[in-house]
């Protein structure tokens, strides 16, 4: 099975929770590179992030969280759709963004 190293860019609050320094997080993904497989790998590596990006019970994206990559908004794509090749190859990061809301 193929294995890829994915760059994930997290918002500052989640970086603090995961006790991460500046810079993207690198996670190893086996098989297809999708939102689900990337977030599964991220949460396995940093379990304190469980529930902060996806709802614990439904595993759906939290309402005030968005997913961007390659200058596209992927928030409403299927979680099982392949991510862009540039993300799968590690060239571009997968962005987890806290939505702009309320100033």
């Amino acid at each position: 099975m193929s294995r890829a190293t994915i760059r994930v860019a997290l918002p500052a609050h989640l970086r603090t929770l995961a006790r991460l320094d500046h810079g993207d997080v690198m996670v190893e993904v086996e098989g297809r590179v999708t939102q689900r497989s990337v977030l599964d790998a991220l949460e396995a590596r940093y379990p304190m992030l469980c529930g902060t990006i996806r709802d614990h019970a439904t595993q759906e994206r939290r309402p005030f969280v968005r997913f961007f990559a390659c200058e596209q908004d992927l928030s409403h794509e299927s979680p099982d759709a392949p991510l862009p090749e540039a993300v799968a190859s590690g060239k571009e990061p997968f962005f987890v963004i806290g939505a702009i809301a309320g100033g």
Partner: protein, 395 residues
């Protein structure tokens, strides 16, 4: 000499204020969890250096934090970074921020609906932890009151949480409705004389009591009258803002309701109004003197539409007679142009010989009185809006 540690939750982080028993000079540390709302912090009565905190965000959800050194350092109880989140048998390991309503066949109740603001039915959805109540006996046991209203318990120091679903599934849920802050379970009172008895309050459903450790619950709202529900004397639907009990009189509880200050002498079976001569009986906080179980404190707020003190003058009111007869306490408090609110979990008392009283405001002030309310002074003036204040009296 004894000292006090005041735990302050705010809209943008937590702060810890410490002083010796004189309570004149204060050290301020924080912000902890900067940028996140911290709805509540509370220390274990058994192990005061163990403090639980509810860190919560509309963006990133609920996080439980725990300190085992009096607030110097904090961890999220559970699985350390890099370890799998499941045990070899597939069961989840510690996941301190996982609050999932129990719908399982053996112990759970089906997810139902509650009233929405417009009277339609709305599905139950977890949003945040409003209140953490550590056990009186076991440092690893702590209760969490959540929005949408339910009661959870952890028996492993906050690593994992199980719902006591008998409350949510009690049967009157479709008549519960959110208050302005959401449909929150905000008050948890543990009976020191009976480990099986717990009182809780929900805005806006009312007060409930269990006598079997949380398996079954009954509404205890007889005597409450609320004009904002179709039947003002209904079994549930009342917007209870806070309840308080003195450990020496566990059958006596006091309540600040949306409007009305209430009292029960029989563990909630019947309530009577004790608003007496208060200038307004709307408010959020209510608390009891540490050594005088008939001395109670409230902060009157003008009205449900105007959440600030009457005449722009911040005043605490004290009754030394268990209600009805109230005296104004204003020495050291703002005399004019004060338009802050004091939220439901933002008042507490210490247990030093001269009882200290504390409260925090939405303007970021935390006031203390080292003489049971006779005079007041600000500890800090410019914190973010204060959501909760708790105090620990330490040797």
């Amino acid at each position: 000499m004894s000292k006090v540690r005041v735990l302050v939750g705010t809209r943008k982080g937590a702060f810890i204020l410490t002083a010796d028993g004189k309570r004149e000079k204060w050290d301020v540390s924080g912000p902890y969890f900067a940028g996140w709302p911290v709805y509540h912090l509370k220390g274990s009565p058994v192990d005061p250096n163990r403090i639980f905190a509810s860190q919560t965000s509309d963006w990133f959800g609920q996080v439980i934090q725990r300190s085992d050194d009096g607030g110097k350092t904090w961890i999220q109880p559970g699985t350390p970074p890099g370890e799998p989140t499941t045990a070899p048998d597939g069961s989840p390991k510690g996941e301190s921020n996982k609050f999932v309503y129990d719908t399982s066949a053996p112990t759970g109740k089906p997810l139902t609906t509650h009233q929405w603001y417009d009277g339609t039915q709305h599905p139950w959805e977890f949003k945040r932890v409003w209140h953490l109540e550590p056990s009186l006996k076991d440092p690893n046991t702590v209760y969490a009151g959540v929005e949408d209203a339910a009661l959870f318990r952890s028996s492993d120091g906050g690593k994992s949480w199980q719902e006591l679903s008998g409350l949510r599934g009690h049967g009157t849920g479709p008549k519960w409705q959110p208050g302005a802050g959401g449909m929150c379970l905000h008050s948890i009172v543990l009976d020191p004389s009976n480990a099986q008895r717990i009182f809780i309050a929900i805005s806006a459903a009312g007060a409930f009591r269990t006598d079997d450790g949380g398996k079954t619950w009954k509404p205890i709202n007889q005597g409450l009258r609320s004009q904002y529900i179709p039947d003002p004397k209904a079994e549930v639907g009342h917007c209870v803002h806070h309840i308080a009990m003195h450990a020496s009189k566990p059958g006596v509880l006091f309540m600040q309701k949306h409007w009305d200050v209430m009292r029960t002498n029989n563990a909630g079976d019947v309530w009577t109004e004790v608003s007496g001569n208060l200038p307004t009986d709307f408010g959020f906080v209510i608390d009891i003197h540490a050594h005088e179980p008939e001395t109670i404190y409230v902060v009157p707020i003008k009205s449900d539409g105007e959440h600030f003190p009457l005449d722009g003058k911040l005043r605490v009111y004290r009754s030394r007679t268990g209600g009805n007869e109230w005296e104004e306490l204003s020495k050291g408090l703002p005399e004019r142009n004060c338009y802050v609110n004091v939220l439901r979990d933002a008042m507490c008392v210490d247990s030093l010989d001269k009882c200290g009283v504390y409260f925090g405001t939405t303007g970021g002030q935390v006031y203390s009185s080292a003489n049971a309310g006779d005079s007041w002074a600000p500890i800090v003036r410019d914190l973010p809006a204060v959501l909760s204040v708790e105090v620990q009296t330490l040797p």
